[in-house]
Symmetry: C2
Subunit: 199 residues, 2 copies
DNA sequence: TGTGAAGATGAGCAATTACTCGCATAATCG
DNA sequence: CGATTATGCGAGTAATTGCTCATCTTCACA
């Protein structure tokens, strides 16, 4: 376990919890509004309205802050997707795919630029085991859904589908497209087309 | 025109051209082998076997070096794709798509990690106009192909297809998959499926 | 062969960065 | 109330970075 990516101390009082949250939120805002080059510990502390000392009391470095943001994001994704898989269980294939896509898009629509920025940061971080587990869980959920529906080579399909949806959603966000419904329709078209099930 | 992204001086003698090339190649190798955090001007000069002074004689900063690498990559892509579009003109739809996909994959297979690293760097750079033109040209080539084949909403389709192929190829490279043929087959499946033309 | 231009050098400067530490303040509890 | 613990502070430090410039070497050409 790389201790440099884990929070240093867990807050016990209310105000310290607030400090932690302020730091995380400030880091997120900086990433989105000022870019990754502006993400320095001093700047984070400044925007969070706390001192660098306080920051380092709870995080061993800025990488740990980013890693924590990533963990939060992945946790949210797992929750959303797990719920969607449950809901999709009783649906026909086509609407079930729609349900899953809606869930993955929810995550993107909440804070699209943040999601994109964090995914970009993730590639530079020595990947955390917890995050790795979460990502495997995501792929597993989708693979399980596909397998139950009789799709052959479910793991590979899940891999490709996640990749293509991710690519299309990222490109749409980058291009400033905010028509979520339209994007969802295009994703459905791509997914169903790939699966050879446009019925 | 942002002068900070353009080369500073064009080499006239042979040895200075060699210096330029050494710098560019060193930067590319560092990006792939040591990661973006290791990409410092001093390190580039060191790996290129030249002094920092020489580096700054031809590039106003490290961003200009990366920008030049990106320009090279985009130029190669345009050449490859233009040739593929020409070759595809006389082919039936299905093999034509295969020709185009082979071209885009060529670019990825030559130096996959470099392509990925550069695309990542590109997002942090104030996008160069020349690069912007090149990217528009790429989309235009594909949109033109689609339009000639009677595909509706060719621009949007080109956008989506580029995005999904890019997503799948990137994910495959990141996962260490080196089965180019298999990847191409999966891309064909995705593209033809999206276009609703599995015939 | 000599002379100016082109090229190469690398020590070192200014700016920025991550991070520490001694001390002040606030909460908790006997 | 103390006393203990948790929290907050921010100037300061060591290390790193991008980049310059005075100086030396190599080349082109009359």
């Amino acid at each position: 376990m790389d201790t440099r990516l884990k929070p240093r101390k867990t807050p016990v009082q209310g105000r310290s919890k607030a400090t932690c949250d302020a730091v995380l939120e400030a880091a997120a805002r900086i990433l989105v509004e000022e870019g990754r080059s502006a993400l320095t510990t001093n700047r984070i502390a400044e925007r969070a309205g706390v001192s660098v000392g306080s920051l380092y009391q709870y995080f061993p470095g800025k990488e740990a802050i980013v890693a924590e943001l990533i963990r939060e994001m992945r946790r949210d994704m797992v929750v959303l997707l797990r719920r969607a898989v449950d809901a999709a269980a009783t649906q026909a294939f086509r609407p079930a795919v729609g349900t899953l896509l809606a869930a993955t898009l929810d995550h993107h629509t909440a804070r699209p630029e943040l999601a994109r920025a964090l995914e970009r940061e993730e590639e530079d971080l020595p990947i955390d085991m917890e995050t790795q587990v979460l990502k495997a869980e995501l792929r597993g959920l989708i693979a399980g859904f596909l397998r139950e529906r009789g799709v052959a080579d479910a793991e590979r399909c899940a891999f490709d589908l996640v990749a293509m949806c991710h690519g299309m959603a990222s490109a749409a966000v980058r291009a400033g497209q905010d028509d979520t419904e339209g994007l969802k329709a295009r994703l459905e078209r791509a997914v169903l087309g790939y699966l050879g099930r446009p019925e």
